[in-house]
């Protein structure tokens, strides 16, 4: 049984040990010494966050910084990096053609408050992480009591396990939260192949289908391209749609695949297929631009709002030339036929969300 557990953990271990090699350059405006300092070379955990690397980075540059208060932020080719997005996700999203090492720039001054929310180092990141975890718990259970009722020491241990990339410690504490693992016969099939038929018990105990917390980052492009390198890169967060929509796994006899999941998240990119089973509200981003923004001051309550949120919206505006070019999860580009449950059981971030990066091509 121990071997079965080890096999089950193999993929999770790869994810937790995954790292992005960073080459961090100090922005020229803050270089006060000649010659300028060499870039810092750091292996950043995929599941971590950039501000957590500051204790490693700051000593490297401290002798060359101008005097004053530091407000640290990172940038890739001019785009300020959102510090609450896991490092691996930033890399998967912004580097269509993976760049190794990833060359990013660190600033110690001039925090772009119009683009980035403030960050006070580790405390801000921890707060953001715990709230994401609460939101995941809310999505799964309808409340986040399990996270709110964690003891101080458990919460601290959980956070430290994320900071240190300690999967065992993380599993020990997070198992108390009872955030269910999705189990179905296809997951067992995937793992039993590598177990040579030895009897396998689902040691997590929970067997449940339900809602999976998903964070979807959609980068829309309208140009044709041969190589990823030819694409003009993301220069503004306006070009990225952030969709926070849980996926409900339907167990109707057949395997629920990544394809099924993507269809429920982005039905307009599967326009050749039937949309009638889509129950999620669709926000049409084209519509949003056409309608002028209105005052936030009206007393009229939209009474049928609850019902409207669940109405199926037709994907009438997107033509069939819209297509999904890329799907990346934890740096992996899975085949669409993969059982979605496998992705959930192995590729979640510690905040219990599945972060999915998608590049779509839309007609101009």
């Amino acid at each position: 049984m121990r071997k079965a557990i080890q096999k089950r953990m193999e993929a999770k271990k790869y994810v937790w040990e995954g790292a992005i090699p960073l080459q961090i350059h100090l922005h020229e405006s803050q270089v006060t010494t000649l010659p300028p300092p060499p870039p810092a070379l750091i292996l950043a955990p995929r599941i971590g966050y950039l501000p957590l690397l500051v204790p490693l980075i700051k000593p490297h540059f401290s002798s060359t910084l101008p005097p004053g208060v530091d407000t640290i932020w990172f940038e890739y080719r001019g785009l300020p990096l959102k510090w609450y997005i896991p490092t691996g996700v930033l890399f998967d999203l912004l580097c269509a053609e993976p760049e190794r090492p990833w060359n990013i720039t660190v600033h110690f001054r001039g925090y772009p408050g119009n683009v980035l929310i403030p960050c006070d180092g580790e405390d801000s990141v921890k707060w953001s992480f715990i709230n994401s975890l609460k939101e995941a718990a809310y999505i799964i259970n309808g409340n986040c009591k399990n996270v709110m009722n964690m003891s101080q020491s458990d919460q601290l241990e959980l956070w430290h396990s994320v900071m240190n990339g300690n999967l065992e410690a993380y599993l020990r504490v997070s198992s108390k939260l009872k955030l269910a693992t999705i189990e179905d016969e296809y997951t067992s099939l995937c793992s039993s192949k590598s177990q040579q038929g030895s009897g396998e018990t689902d040691f997590t105990g929970q067997v449940k289908t339900g809602r999976v917390p998903v964070r979807l980052y959609v980068w829309s492009i309208s140009e044709d391209f041969d190589d990823w390198e030819d694409l003009s890169q993301v220069d503004s967060w306006e070009k990225i749609s952030y969709i926070n929509r849980p996926i409900e796994i339907h167990k109707e006899g057949k395997c629920f695949t990544l394809h099924d999941a993507m269809k429920s998240l982005l039905p307009e990119f599967f326009s050749d297929e039937s949309l009638s089973d889509s129950k999620l509200a669709r926000v049409d981003f084209e519509d949003a631009q056409k309608i002028p923004s209105e005052d936030v001051s009206s007393n009229k309550v939209v009474e049928d709002q609850g019902q409207n949120a669940y109405e199926h919206r037709e994907a009438c505006c997107i033509s069939s030339s819209a297509e999904i070019k890329l799907i990346r999860i934890q740096g992996i580009e899975p085949k669409l036929e993969i059982p979605f449950s496998w992705l959930v059981n192995n590729l979640l971030n510690p905040d219990h969300f599945l972060h999915i990066c998608v590049c779509v091509k839309v007609p101009q």
Binding site: S132, I243, V283, S298
Partner: protein, 90 residues
């Protein structure tokens, strides 16, 4: 009545607790396609505060990039309500 293709608006209720000041207007509508960051900004301006902790349904504090409509759907998926999102401000 709203036309089917117009942007849905979400009702947001404000409940100030602790020593947070009470807003004159405790209920407002915001387009579903707006990010939660807009709600925070609006509240910061109204309350004249730089730092604000905003919790939804007394549960969690959302990511600023989250769309209001996504948040609404998450919050109402277990409890069908026409009340909209309830915010608690610290």
């Amino acid at each position: 009545a709203e036309s089917p293709t117009s942007v849905r608006k979400v009702v947001v209720h404000l409940r100030a607790t602790g020593d947070a000041p009470i807003l004159k207007q405790a209920k407002f509508k915001i387009p579903g396609t707006d990010k939660f960051a807009k709600v925070i900004d609006f509240l910061r301006r109204q309350l004249h505060r730089d730092t604000l902790f905003v919790y939804v349904n007394s549960a969690f504090s959302p990511n600023p990039d989250e769309l209001v409509i996504d948040l609404y759907n998450i919050l109402t998926s277990y409890f069908h309500t026409s009340k909209g999102i309830s915010l608690v401000v610290f």
